[in-house]
């Protein structure tokens, strides 16, 4: 790794890569999501049948992934704003990234049962 590089191959670069990947993922989801919501203009049955897909165990895991992506993008986005607008932002960018990851981990742990619980109940009974 080239010494003296602020950016390449370090926390700054990997958080940027992750920010980009999660942003694109959420954008593609949103496109599909507006289409599925538009089914409320077709009929209640068409909407409910499509939303049933969201309730299957496999898709529940994808929803957990979506939550992971949105949460990281949101928290890291606030970090980017702090780096740009807070006078000490650049100095503390690394500490802020670890704060982001800690908050992300806590929220992901808290979201696990609410988002995945119904999938486990369906897969393993009761």
């Amino acid at each position: 790794m080239p010494a003296g590089t602020l950016y390449r191959g370090r926390e700054g670069m990997w958080s940027w890569v992750a920010h980009r990947v999660t942003g694109v993922l959420v954008f593609f989801f949103l496109f599909v999501h507006v289409l599925d919501t538009a089914l409320v203009r077709v009929s209640p049955e068409a909407y409910d049948q499509t939303i049933a897909v969201y309730k299957t165990p496999l898709v529940a895991f994808m929803e957990y992934g979506l939550v992971a992506a949105v949460l990281f993008h949101a928290l890291n986005g606030l970090r980017v704003v702090a780096v740009d607008f807070w006078s000490k932002g650049a100095r503390y960018q690394k500490q802020m990234l670890w704060t982001v990851m800690a908050v992300w981990g806590l929220l992901m742990a808290g979201a696990a049962w609410p988002v995945l619980g119904h999938a486990f109940r369906e897969l393993f009974g009761s």
Binding site: L6, L35, R41, I51, K55, E63, V70, V115
Partner: protein, 158 residues
């Protein structure tokens, strides 16, 4: 490449790593804007886009995380989502405005982000142009459809 380019790491004191306390040397902007600059570089569009990403991002934290909390966590998570549930929510102007704002901000924020990414990776002028046309078409279509759905929602459709 020009021979005047500053070699990496020159102009800094010795071996100290570059960081907030020892900034990298400033690179002069390659050209100044004049009346003859191409149209696309004559405005502050990119500056406003940059600001918009940050302001919309802050608002989206509340809008999108609030939305996910309501849809996936509260009241039994996704299991409760149905036509009747949506009808209940869109009976209130508050949630209509919430969803409308979220739709417009998330789509414009995401589309502007994707525009940056296309500019970064699509090297040929033609590829870049058509990818952006595809992006803009999909974005306008999605925003209009989502807006129409919120405004024309009919709980008694059947």
């Amino acid at each position: 490449m020009s021979t005047e380019t500053t070699p990496a790491n020159s102009g800094t004191t010795g071996e100290r790593p570059i960081g907030p306390d020892n900034p990298a040397p400033v690179i002069e902007p390659p050209r100044t804007r004049t009346g003859r600059s191409p149209r696309s570089t004559r405005t502050n569009f990119e500056l406003h886009g940059w600001l918009f990403m940050r302001l919309s991002g802050i608002l989206l934290v509340f809008l999108v995380l609030g939305h996910l909390l309501i849809q996936l966590v509260l009241d039994g998570g996704v299991s409760k989502v149905s036509f009747a549930f949506v009808a209940g929510r869109w009976a209130s102007p508050f949630w209509q405005v919430w969803d409308l704002l979220m739709l417009w901000l998330a789509m414009l924020h995401g589309a502007n982000g994707l525009r940056t990414i296309i500019n970064d990776y699509a090297q040929r002028d033609n590829t870049r142009f058509w990818l952006k046309m595809l992006l803009y078409t999909a974005t306008v279509f999605t925003i209009l459809l989502g807006t129409l759905v919120i405004f024309t929602f009919d709980p008694n459709i059947r």
